[in-house]
């Protein structure tokens, strides 16, 4: 075996025959994929499945936006419209956003970044994917059999008593998928605690690991509450229990408490990993250590913890006590602090950097801008009196899309591009990628900015037909959505194209620090020829660039 791989010295290991044998070509049979316990292969299984769900959820969104071009109901019936936005929400939240970065990039990168051979529980990891797929099948069945029309929030008593659609199948699907989320989070926590390479202390970890760890905490502690909530809704439908049914003495607001105890932190399941991705990309394309490493790291924890204290801000007009409303409003503002810390630190990281604008960096900068806007409008909806007006309007729709699409999806795409050479051993076409990053940024803003105005004007969400004065803004939004759609279509195409025709990637095409870049692209099944030993801080770009100056760039 070759000499030790040290992060400090940044010597490329002698790849030798290893580069020929990697995790992708270690087996070609279907069996070798479906029964794999290799975290990298499982990550690719997830990548394919969530892309499928993303396209499906996107199709539903397209139909919704098309229908909203006119104030009347002329494309579909109201019943169908309701099923479409429910399908969009359920698929995008539970089957795309929640698993997106953790299950794809997290699965692929966590063991590589901590210098381990695999996750702590590889078989459990494979099981997670099967559980996810099983849940997905239930939900797909519900959609194909006739759909479900409760909205992704499943508010009782509509979902538990009044809806005649496939609520049970969908709830079962989400219930099952929740366990996939739990097991993935559990696997990450144990891996990060127990499997770090020698010398890799907490403060030498990449910030991506910090944020995945924080995400996992939410997954483990939040998801089970959603599970019990959906179980109770299911039992109300099957057994006629009355926990949430006011006719039987139950309280429908209890459903909302339990539902949002998970579903508010779930927003942070989506955004935290994206923040982690951004914290990797920015240092690489600025060639310097991020400003305030420890503050970015700890703010991830702060967000994870605070996220559990604020769920009641979804209940300001619901009949929750106004005193509880005030408590939740105040706690909600706490989240602003770690979020601001992150944004300011990322911005400060640019200072005195050597900035280049490759695709991942474009996504990262776009993320910072959009997240700032999404976060700032969070101040509006946490302010009690303003929320009373904008609650359940398009203002909310715009706000959470800025976080979940402008934030989470931008981060996801940035990360996919950044680590694409590592995952596939191929480079994506830079020109196309930059073009689509810019298209997505423009399309996104055109789609969702008008919705802020629409919301403050008072257009309620989930409205199929609407007063004619709202049409102009709706048309603007739909027009933007078409640009956004094109922007999403490009990466889907050229990334597949690059698998066959892309340039071969070297082990470290971006000259990035981090253990994952010190093994060949694509990595061998066992990740590292020898367990790496870490002697230095993360993001030591100064040293990296100093060493590479003589050998030229990769």
């Amino acid at each position: 075996m070759t000499a030790l791989i040290e992060t400090g010295s940044m010597k490329m290991p002698d790849l030798g025959p290893l580069s020929k044998r990697n995790y992708l070509n270690s087996g070609y049979t279907v069996r070798s994929w479906l029964l794999t316990t290799d975290h990298k292969r499982i990550a690719l299984l997830y990548l394919m499945s969530i892309t499928f769900f993303f396209v499906l959820g996107g199709a539903a969104a397209t139909l919704v936006r098309l229908d909203l071009m006119t104030p009347q109901a002329d494309l579909v019936q109201s019943e169908t419209f309701n099923k479409l936005f429910t399908a969009h929400g359920v698929i995008m939240v539970f089957f795309f956003l929640v698993p997106s970065i953790p299950a794809v990039l997290g699965n692929f990168l966590v063991p590589l970044m901590v210098g381990a051979r695999d996750l702590a529980f590889p078989r459990l990891n494979l099981l997670s994917w099967y559980i996810y797929m099983l849940g997905g099948l239930f939900t797909l069945y519900a959609l194909l059999a006739g759909g479900v029309d409760t909205g992704w929030t499943f508010y009782a008593p509509y979902s538990s008593t009044y809806s005649n659609t496939y609520v049970m199948a969908t709830a079962v699907g989400i219930f099952i998928t929740g366990f996939s989320s739990i097991l993935t989070g559990l696997n990450f926590i144990v891996t990060i605690h127990k499997m770090r390479a020698p010398g890799l202390t907490w403060f030498r970890l990449p910030l991506f690991i910090w944020s995945i760890y924080a995400t996992s905490i939410i997954m483990v502690l939040g998801t089970p509450v959603l599970a019990i909530t959906l179980l109770l809704v299911g039992l109300e439908r099957i057994l006629g229990l009355g926990i949430f049914d006011p006719r039987l003495g139950g309280d429908p607001i209890l459903f909302q408490h339990l539902f949002w105890f998970y579903s508010h932190p779930a927003v942070y399941i989506m955004i935290l990993p994206s923040m982690g991705v951004i914290s990797e990309i920015i240092p690489c394309y600025c060639r310097k250590r991020p400003f305030g490493y420890a503050f970015i790291g700890f703010s991830s924890f702060a967000i994870a913890v605070f996220s559990f204290l604020v769920w009641g801000h979804h209940l300001f007009v619901s009949g929750q006590s106004i005193y509880a409303g005030m408590v939740f409003s105040m706690l909600s503002y706490l989240v602003a602090i770690p979020s601001a810390v992150k944004v300011f630190n990322w911005t400060a990281s640019l200072h005195k950097g050597s900035i280049s604008f490759d695709t991942p960096m474009l996504y990262a900068l776009g993320f910072v801008g959009l997240f700032t806007m999404g976060g700032l409008t969070g101040l509006f909806v946490a302010a009690l009196a303003v929320d009373v007006h904008v609650h359940d309007t398009y203002f909310i729709v715009a706000h959470f899309h800025y976080i979940m699409v402008g934030g989470a999806v931008m981060g996801y795409l940035g990360g996919i591009h950044f680590w694409w050479p590592k995952m596939t051993g191929r480079l994506y076409p830079e020109g196309w990628a930059r073009l689509s990053a810019i298209l997505i940024f423009i399309g996104f803003n055109l789609t969702f900015f008008p919705q802020y105005i629409l919301g403050y004007l008072g257009m309620p969400r989930r409205y199929h037909i609407y007063p004619p004065e709202f049409q102009v803004l709706n048309v603007m939004s739909s027009a933007g959505a078409s640009i956004l759609g094109v922007g999403y279509f490009f990466p889907l195409t050229y990334l597949v194209w690059s698998l066959y025709y892309g340039k071969r990637a070297s082990a470290n095409p971006w000259r990035a620090t981090g253990l994952e870049w010190q093994t060949p692209s694509p990595p061998p099944t066992e990740n590292f020829a020898e367990t790496p030993i870490v002697l230095d801080e993360a993001y030591d770009y100064k040293r990296m660039d100093g060493q590479l100056a003589e050998g030229g760039t990769a």
Binding site: L119, P122, I189, P224, G240, I243, L258
Partner: protein, 221 residues
């Protein structure tokens, strides 16, 4: 490759770990994290219980008196005993006593089955007495606030039902362990699965430790 597979069969150490201590700690931590999620899962039910009980304590107390204290107590004793035998089974596995491991696992399963049987017998009695407000069955309640009493029984059935389901899952896992134990596995360094199952079983016991007073004992008799 074949060398690795063989080694994997001979050694209790999975390939991703460096040593057995790391593996054991990872197993324990993993199980404890899973128990965390279980706690949150039951937490939702306990919260619902707390809210509805504080709304009408008197009716909840009255409804609680309808439960059979004798069988509840017996079941608690049964479950506590099974926790003891489970702890002994783990001990036997770690100290490489195959015979003891089999016996204690078997006894634990017997006790678990006894618990579930008694539980279902109680359900049947509730059904006979018209205290099973499920599936549209008639609910007979002579006392005050039938609505709130019904809520008590709703919660009773959900909470004990979900608990019983956890028991059944535990019994299923133990069946697998028992089969493996008869083949001479799960001893010494291989005892991880027994230890982890033990943690799960004790947790199920813990939940019952709270369910029992909340359901059976809140109405002074």
């Amino acid at each position: 490759m074949s060398d690795e597979t063989q080694a994997a069969q001979l050694s209790p150490l999975a390939h991703q770990f460096d040593d057995l201590a790391q593996q054991n700690e990872a197993d324990d931590l993993g199980m404890w994290l899973f128990l965390c999620t279980e706690l949150m899962f039951f937490g939702g039910l306990f919260l619902a219980y707390t809210i509805y009980r504080t709304r009408d304590e008197a009716t909840f107390a009255a409804a609680s008196r309808e439960l059979e204290l004798l069988w509840g107590t017996v079941n608690t004793a049964v479950l506590l005993t099974s926790s003891l035998t489970m702890a002994l089974a783990v001990h036997a596995a770690e100290t490489r006593h195959r015979q003891k491991l089999i016996v204690f696992l078997f006894v634990t399963m017997l006790l678990g089955c006894a618990f579930v049987s008694i539980k279902f017998m109680e359900y049947y009695h509730k059904y006979l007495h018209g205290l099973m407000p499920l599936l549209g069955l008639p609910f007979k309640w002579d006392g005050t606030s039938p609505g709130h009493a019904e809520m008590f029984f709703d919660l009773y059935f959900v909470m004990t039902g979900v608990h019983a389901l956890h028991m059944l899952i535990g019994l299923g896992i133990m069946l697998v362990l028992l089969v493996q134990a008869t083949r001479g596995r799960l001893l010494g360094g291989f005892s991880g699965p027994v230890r982890v199952t033990g943690l799960y079983w004790h947790f199920v016991d813990l939940v019952w430790v709270f369910l029992f007073p909340l359901l059976y004992l809140i109405g002074a008799r």
